[in-house]
């Protein structure tokens, strides 16, 4: 590289070489560079303006372009490729416990009012949780309940069934099956009145009711 510098003392580098120099300087510079600055940095006898013109032409129609910024020059992405400068990331997160419980209650007890969900969960249901499930399109509003206040009810959607691979919400396993699958571990004490099976039946019954409502 040293010989190139020396050579320039006697005569200017060839045109193509000057173009390479402008290219390298524009590429590496942290800010746009004026023609005067280019000339100052290039070996004696160079004509930065001419080299720049060649370079601009070379980059015509390329993925990047040589553009004028004020009275300086810089290399920039071609405007039609700006879309490449964004990186879309998709993050998959698990539903919160509150959301999945609320969803489960809606699926098993639909149509169900917010008050009913709260009664079953034993805690209040935040607006955000319901909104999230609505946004996911896993639940939607059902008919209003014909009780005082005419509260809205929630039901699960076709998207919900698709996501969980269910033909209908009736296919959700009842408590009996959940227990058989080992999902219910806390057995009530023997002789305790509410028989495990009964509750399952109950849930099922409630469910089919609701579905009749639906159709």
């Amino acid at each position: 590289m040293a010989d190139k510098k020396e050579q320039s003392l006697f005569e200017a580098p060839p045109e193509g070489e000057q173009e390479r120099m402008v290219e390298a300087i524009l590429f590496a510079s942290a800010e746009p560079i004026s023609v005067a600055d280019l000339n100052a940095r290039m070996p004696h006898g160079c004509d930065a303006a001419a080299a720049l013109a060649l370079l601009r032409k070379r980059y015509e129609g390329r993925g990047v372009r040589v553009v004028k910024v004020g009275d300086a020059w810089a290399i920039r992405t071609a405007p039609d490729l700006g879309f490449l400068m964004q990186k879309e990331t998709v993050e998959t997160r698990k539903l919160s416990r509150a959301a999945i419980e609320t969803l489960a209650i809606i699926a098993y007890h639909q149509p169900v009012t917010r008050a009913e969900i709260e009664e079953i969960r034993g805690v209040s249901v935040s607006r955000g949780t319901v909104d999230q499930l609505l946004e996911l399109e896993w639940i939607r509003f059902g008919r209003r309940r014909m009780t005082p206040g005419r509260p809205v009810t929630y039901v699960v959607t076709q998207s919900f069934l698709d996501h969980f691979g269910l033909e209908s919400a009736r296919d959700l396993p009842g408590l009996k099956e959940l227990r058989a699958a080992g999902l219910l571990e806390n057995r009530p004490p023997p002789g305790a009145l509410p028989e495990p099976g009964e509750e399952g039946e109950d849930a099922d019954a409630g469910q089919s009711d609701m579905f009749e409502d639906e159709s």
């Binding site: 942290a30 993050e91 998959t92 419980e101």
Partner: protein, 259 residues
């Protein structure tokens, strides 16, 4: 082999070795010193005379001692090892001796020196390469990549079922209590009798103290009887009542103890 091992170190080597002593702090340990010493042999490292090298090193250490230079322990350890190696190289191999031969040890030392030299050459070639930020450069105005983050939420059927199971189980799960519908406790019996006993001045049948409605259901009756009997024993113990029974299996009677 023993003979040519005795060849004297020539004067130039000796001088070179002595010059090294002054510079002892400049060495990175015994191996570095050995490598430097080996250069005085001006041969390919693979053909180096380890015996001669050992002598050079030992000479170096002696000189350093004579000059009262403080030598680090590892230099002395190497000196001891090289003295051992030297004796192995000079003496005919003892067939009873189990350890590696002097030649093997010497070959390994030569290998270590060659390897160190190899790495030094490699390091020099590496550093002589074009380097980023010195010879070639990166883009001066990198463009920001805007990140668009999409969050999707997911849950499996299992999550759903587990959640439901969790809720339902929570309902069923309460602290363990016996179903007490048919159990009359001694405490309850005590409470009941304490209230009634004041009125009865004379002997009364214990059975008459059973709570109302417990006399007919056999299960309830059994429990109430047991509790009432236990309570009467307790009261008798406290000296509040007296108990009597005429014969085995005849009715038990109680009365308030006269004060």
């Amino acid at each position: 082999m023993a003979e040519d091992a005795f060849e004297a170190m020539d004067v130039a080597d000796r001088l070179a070795a002595e010059a090294l002593i002054v510079d002892v702090d400049g060495f990175e340990g015994p191996l570095d010193l050995l490598l430097t010493l080996s250069r005085t042999q001006k041969v390919d490292l693979r053909k180096i005379s380890v015996l001669q090298l050992a002598r050079q090193y030992l000479h170096f250490v002696e000189q350093a001692k004579a000059l009262r230079l403080e030598l680090a322990a590892d230099y002395l350890v190497m000196a001891a090892w090289l003295a051992f190696l030297k004796s192995r190289l000079l003496l005919p191999p003892d067939p009873a001796d189990e350890g590696p031969s002097g030649e093997e040890l010497a070959a390994h030392l030569a290998f270590q020196l060659e390897r160190l030299q190899g790495m030094r050459d490699a390091a020099a070639r590496l550093m002589a390469r074009d380097q980023k930020g010195r010879d070639f450069f990166v883009r001066g105005i990198p463009e920001d990549i805007s990140r668009i983050r999409h969050v999707t939420y997911t849950a499996t059927l299992l999550d759903l079922m587990q959640a439901y199971a969790r809720i339902r189980t929570r309902d069923e799960f309460r602290p363990f209590v016996l179903d007490r519908d048919s159990v009359f406790t001694m405490e309850e019996a005590l409470e009941r009798m304490r209230g009634l006993i004041g009125y009865a001045g004379d002997w009364t049948m214990l059975i008459s103290y059973l709570p109302e409605g417990w006399e007919h259901d056999p299960v309830k009756r059994r429990s109430a009887t047991a509790a009432t009997f236990a309570a009467s024993l307790e009261l008798a113990k406290r000296g509040a009542i007296e108990i009597r029974q005429d014969a085995v299996f005849t009715p038990i009677q109680i009365r308030k103890k006269a004060v």
